[in-house]
Amino acid sequence: MTGLREVGKRRPQAGIETRIRGGAIYTQDVTLPGMLYGAILRSPHSHARIASIDVTAAAALPGVQAIITAEDFKNRRYYHLGGTYSDRRPLAKDKVRFWGEEVAAVAATSLSIAERACALIAVEYDVLAPALTPQDALRPDAPEIHGKDNAVAGRNLAVRFSADYGDIAGAMAKAHFVLEDEFAHGIVAPCCMETNGTVARFNPDAGTLELWTATQAPYFIRKEVAHLVALDEHKVRVRSVEIGGGFGGKSKVCEQEALAAMLSIKARHPVKITLNRRDEFVSGKTDHAKRIRIRTAVAEDGRILNRNVSVQIDNGAYTAYAPTYVGASRQRTTCLYRIESAHYDCDLVYTNKVPGGQYRGMGAPQTIWAIESHMDDIAKRLNRDPLEYRISQANQPGDVTPLKWRISTCGLTDCLQNVGKMIRWDEKRNSPAPLRGVGVASMIHPSGGVIYQEGNFSNSRVELTGDGQIIVHTQTADTGTWQNTTLAQVAAETLGVNTSDVSVSHMDTDQAPDDLGSAASRVTFVTGNATLHAAEHLRAKILTGLSQQWNCGVEDILIENAVARHGTEPHRTADLTEIARLVGPLSADGFFTTPGERPDPKTGEGNYAATYVFGAQAAEVEVDRDTGRITVLRMAVAQDVGRALNPTAVEGQIYGGVLQGIGMALLEEMVFEEGRPVNASFLDYAVPRIGSAPKIDISLVETNDPLGPYGAKAGAEPTINATIAAIANAVFHATGIRFKTLPMSPDRVLAALEERDGKKPALKPWKRVYNAEVAAVRVMYPGVVFPALRKVGTKFARLPEKSKTPRILVPGSIAELLEFPSNKDTKSRIVAGGTDIFVGMKQGIYAPDQLLDVTRLPDLQGISLERESAPVLRIGAATSLDSVSRNELAARYFPALVSCINLIATAQIRRVATVAGDLCQEKRCWFFRSAFPCYKLGGSTCPCFAVLGDNRHHSINGAKRCAAPNPSDLAPLLSALNARVKVIGKTGIRYIPIEELYLWSGLTKLEKHELIEAIEIPIVPDTSSAFRKFGLRQGDFAEASVAVLAEWSDHRVRSIRIFAGAVSPLPMRAIAAEALLTGTRLEPSLVSAAAETIVEGSLPLHDNEYKVPLLINLTRQALLAASSHSA
């Protein structure tokens, strides 16, 4: 296709001028007159019967305008996929099935009143035993989560599927060998930057409802909400708004939509509900965990004779779209590469966890990870190069797959060859640098598949307004994918106008005709075709109108560059304004439905999609042997996009998809305890930050699909599909280790490297006497101690009272601060930066009555050299971390301090957080921070959840009743530097060495009415210092850190101080290592031996053994750094 003027060109994003100036209106920015704020009461149990709900006290709270419970929705449930899959109510009735389930909702004049009202709703629960994993849920005696109406395939089974494809027996008879393997991964989450939210406005006079909502699919929102609040669909209107990311997390009805609608109907006011970040993780927008067994029969020449795949999917407590995950994983396993025969079976299992939603790829990235890891192993067994082997088995045009997909255009071979070239495969594969590797993977994805019960159709409308504007009206939502830009390009190309002449109005269900929305990468292909047809119709109408005006045939008129010309009478021209004047306002609709076939319900067979997308990715990685960190150095991505309607937009999707894939591969996983997420924040759930972005080379392979609009296929969603697999294969190349669980996070990688190398450091736990007692208690913890404390002890827990609003007081001097009245009923806390305390109040771990803000106290600010006796560097307690790192004196005397601070948190936090605040911050244990009724939060009758729960971040040393490690980076460094804090109290001044500051993690020796005025670090000549830290992600808290101060005399160490952080409740001094190194020159061999001793006396927990080698390696690094400073 040549001569294209708008399609295929790099056009800027539609609406960019508004977005870049902050003027775009997202749902959270919508405010309406009389608007109320909604809050949701969530279940505090994973599985329980609701005995009673009493809203009397909440209703009496001034400002409360409406309260809703399950009764308000009668017996209506979400449709979702319909039939037996329709299992969830907008608010729980009779039973709650996961922690965080919606139980009631309140609308009030302010959010804080609504939240307080929620806390006043009295719900009585009869707690039931939960089934938290698919394995547990499939036991014959497992608690029944749903009845037989929904668990139709057996107890807790929403789906049980099994099918054979082709002549399996015949294929197996020809097998040269059979390979078998098993892969598993946990739950990840889309994490849109904009959380879900809705503003609902019910008009009681007209009986109409308007919704401003963060959704990908207005069509389904209208359908679901109208049904749930019992309005006719045409009475519900979804309005246009900006969407802050989708990735599947907004592709179904999200729970706040129906709740805001019902609250608005009841309160007769507009109601806004904005989910907070924690709600996002707990309430049903996540992906699904899977276990994938795969067995492949291979012919001598490498042909895949049979691929047999068995999958188990964790549905969570309710079914949303997980049955389509069954389909998506079936499609990849039976259709990627040429396969002679196949078997696929799958269980979709209910558990008492967050109901899975959808996330980019619908499970394909992990399914392909399993297939492609396996393909690498097959190539190895065949002694063939993995890239060459894949090319030999690649799908080709004209192929029919076991699932009866008829492959038309297919650029897979080109994609594989292109990524090989871009990554310099032969060179890097055959002579890799140490701990570096390259890997490759392919992917397949339907374009225009029959996704929904409704099929897969689109209506689009293109309008010429009376004043000459061209507007495309689509119900699909541009969630940031640039879909509005590409739709404008399609319309512009077809009409003969410029893309800048076309605006796109998205989402509004009253203005745009029906379309199924922006999911499954369907907009370019399906809505693009509908828009193309609409624009053709409009063009025909314009030409007809003009031909009547100009008295000529339509074939005599040419529209180009937004100007219509009479072919033979060149003086007759009309720009868009003139065209509109001549022919009047016009509009035209276009319709497209996929020619794909509905899959056979029993087997899934059928040519499901209009066409298929292919692609390949190659990764180059480097593995850090000391820490286990995998760095993706470079990615090469080639994708058969049919045609790139806008290369900048497609590249943006590739960059973004690859980075999300890196998150899945290396960082992301939700962690649960008792079914309750413990890492529901961006602190603990690590999405990739900017430092994770590798170099990415892109090759767009254009196969010009005959069915696509201007040849285009789906592009955005599948960019993620091959990323995990390519990285995993590169890691295998670099290390020889095949990871079978995700993510390949540093803790797992380091543990695997240690095992590979047969390393087993001597821990000598008997060196610490208390370890005998700790070990004994741990043995009894699962059977005796934990159940007793959990069941009985936590009844006496004294948890901080939530949703209090403290007074903030700002004293002008220390004297004034110390004089502030306080009695035993008033809990005061000193606040400096506030980066811990303000977050902790929301987490429910602090509930002060008053906060004393010390940032205005001049004595607490500044950095100076003090020479009263011995010279010290004095740092005011409330000096920001950033001020220290930029200070010349600090840089001159303590470069290790500056490098340490630059590893703490992020730029924004360092500008606010203070030095004393870092020292005094509360512990970071994720059970404590999630307000579990633990020993430290609830009191001495409560258990430590870290002993049995996921304890990868916890102490390996000194973990007695509480396993939380000291989180401060400055604590070990300032301890090593022999620093002390100057403390002022009512009785005078005292000094505490930082080494002795702590009673426990997050607990200092400061008394009530004492505050730290300054930190003093002695300046000692002939010293060198160093600090090393490892965090799992950029800006993270330490998993381990080591600080060293060496004092030199005649090139020998006269004295040395070594402290470790984040491995024990207190900063841990390495006395044995210090003794070994005193008097030496810190020779490398001695350093290594001394480093090994730092873990003596450790008693790791079950998930944090990796901290042992990590600590040794960081110690060695820090010591070597200190020795290189000696000159």
Binding site: P12, Q13, I16, R19, I20, R21, G22, G23, I25, Y26, Q28, D29, P190, C191, C192, M193, T195, E242, G244, G245, N276, R277, M422, T479, G480, W482, T648, E651, G652, Y655, G657, L659, Q660, S681, V687, I690, G691, A693, I696, D697, S699, T805, R807, I808, V831, G834, T835, F838, V839, T855, D882, A905, T906, A907, Q908, I909, R911, V912, Q1034, G1035
Partner: protein, 159 residues
């Protein structure tokens, strides 16, 4: 408590409620809604604004602390109709997808370029680590910041 401060070059005087955070003053009192809330806990950077030139998370700053200080939000970063160099580079490089992180990104990048005229890619990574973007994969953002500082972007054109 009443506080006086300057925001986007305009003097303001506001009666604060006790627990009010800066982001609330900006978004709800002054209706400058280009500053976004992505987490409310200082973890994502969507609410980043400049206080006396320093990029901070406005969700973690008690509003009383900005008394007498000067704040710049995304609405104040352009000069009249002319986009700032960072904004213009974001447009040129297609560094915006959903746009929700964009305001914060631009504030952090602007604060960086104010003190570091020619940042390296490592400098950019250090300065922008507090701003999460889930859409772009950051490549186009890195190129935009390099370009805004007059440096050649690394370029990730299709081969």
């Amino acid at each position: 408590m009443r506080i006086d401060f300057r925001i986007n070059g305009i003097d303001q005087s506001i009666e604060l409620s006790n627990d009010e955070m800066l982001v609330n003053v900006i978004r709800e009192r002054l209706e400058l809604r280009g500053t976004k809330i992505g987490c409310g806990n200082g973890e994502c950077g969507a609410c980043t604004v400049l206080v006396d030139g320093d990029a901070v998370c406005s969700c973690l700053i008690p509003a009383h602390r900005v008394a007498g200080r000067s704040i710049t939000t995304i609405e104040g970063i352009a000069k009249e109709n002319e986009l700032s160099p960072v904004q213009a580079a974001f447009v040129r490089h297609g560094a915006v997808q959903c746009g929700f992180c964009t305001s914060g990104m631009i504030m952090s990048a602007s604060a960086l370029l104010a003190v570091n005229l020619k940042p390296t890619e490592a400098d950019i990574s250090h300065a922008l680590a507090g701003n999460i973007c889930r859409c772009t994969g950051y490549r186009q953002i890195i190129d935009a910041v390099l370009d805004a500082s007059g440096q050649t972007p690394l370029g990730h054109e299709p081969s």
